[in-house]
Symmetry: C2
Subunit: 192 residues, 2 copies
DNA sequence: ACCCTCCTTGGTCGAATGCCCAAGGCGACT
DNA sequence: AGTCGCCTTGGGCATTCGACCAAGGAGGGT
């Protein structure tokens, strides 16, 4: 078949994957043309053949990651049949996460870079909005009061916990989840 | 009479202030020797006279900012006489904050840089721990259950809200505060 | 008046940066 | 078999980077 074009797309994907790795390891603005090429196992010139600039490559990698993660949230939330289960489902997929894991760092790096890149800011904003919307819908379905603001707080708390975990040890994930459960089950004492 | 040593300290302070500004504007790894010197209004060589490296200057600037902010939290929290007031005091000093304001961005930049600099990680971790501790103490004094985990969630939610605000509009600060109030006043409906 | 210490200047170093380009390769079509 | 188009190579360009340093103030203490 079309070997040249296919291999081209393959190289493109390898560069995107390399970008996601290097953003985490080095920080957004410290990812360079040559290191990208080396990590992807290709010649340096290919970076500017497939992408208009290093920045464009980084943005595309981050947007891809955001879209990919947002696509996963729907199925996860759909399986929950009570408000408490919604939180359990959310938190469960998070407790495996240390705060210094690649995914967390990549997202925080992207958040920051977005304050200096309008296109990236918009794409990440959409991802957050989508996540909030899905979450609010599930909360509303289970009679949680003020679902939109609650969803916003939950989403923010999750990202904040990741941020803090990267810096200092804190209460266990179970203890934090118990606290957050107060948000979705008002009026009842937590069952710890 | 202004001694040479005094002027030297003055220049040092100017460099630290310039660093805090430039970290926000350009991103941690994009702050360079020459831009630092220009912003501080001094010769480029002075950067490496007063500091062993650019990285050391950035770290010191960030740690100073963290200590300064942590020093402010005590008085703010002390004035609150109910659990609800604690939250109001916390949130009030935060609602003037856009999420893209210099202080927020500086801290998130520092958080990220800390994942790659052990000394910075430790200093910021201490600041977070101190904040959590003060907050937990106030919460415990007002009979909030599980004060430590609650304080951790509140602190994380605050940072998370700042992070999200920089990217996308969301519910008003009042609406978010009402949701968080459920954490500190369990069993009572929010008064909106 | 003299040193002595500290601060300051402006330039230089090798290395690394982003981006570009002429030349070559290689499979898919006619 | 020959042409075409896309992908790939490796080097080159001007620029900027962090770090360094010799030389020059400038004031305090003796």
């Amino acid at each position: 078949m079309v070997t040249a074009a296919q291999r081209g797309q393959e190289v493109r994907q390898r560069l995107l994957r390399a970008a996601a790795e290097l953003i985490v390891e080095r920080g957004w603005t410290a990812v360079t043309t040559r290191v990208l090429a080396q990590r992807a196992g290709v010649a340096p010139g290919l970076v500017h053949y497939h992408f208009t600039s290093v920045q464009a490559l980084l943005v595309e990698a981050a947007v891809d990651a955001a879209r990919s993660l947002a696509a996963q949230t729907g199925p996860v939330l759909a399986g929950a049949h009570t408000a408490s289960e919604v939180l359990t489902a959310l938190w469960g997929s998070l407790d495996t996460v240390s705060g210094t894991d690649p995914t967390s760092v990549l997202f925080v790096e992207a958040y920051l870079a977005a304050t200096r890149d309008e296109r990236l800011r918009q794409a990440l904003g959409e991802a957050i909005g989508l996540f909030r919307g899905q979450l609010a819908e599930r909360l509303a379905a289970h009679a949680v009061p003020d679902p939109e603001a609650t969803a916003a707080v939950l989403a923010a708390a999750i990202d904040g916990v990741l941020l803090h975990r990267a810096l200092v040890a804190g209460p266990s994930g179970d203890a934090l989840a118990a606290v957050l459960r107060r948000l979705v089950t008002p009026g009842s004492e937590d069952a710890r």
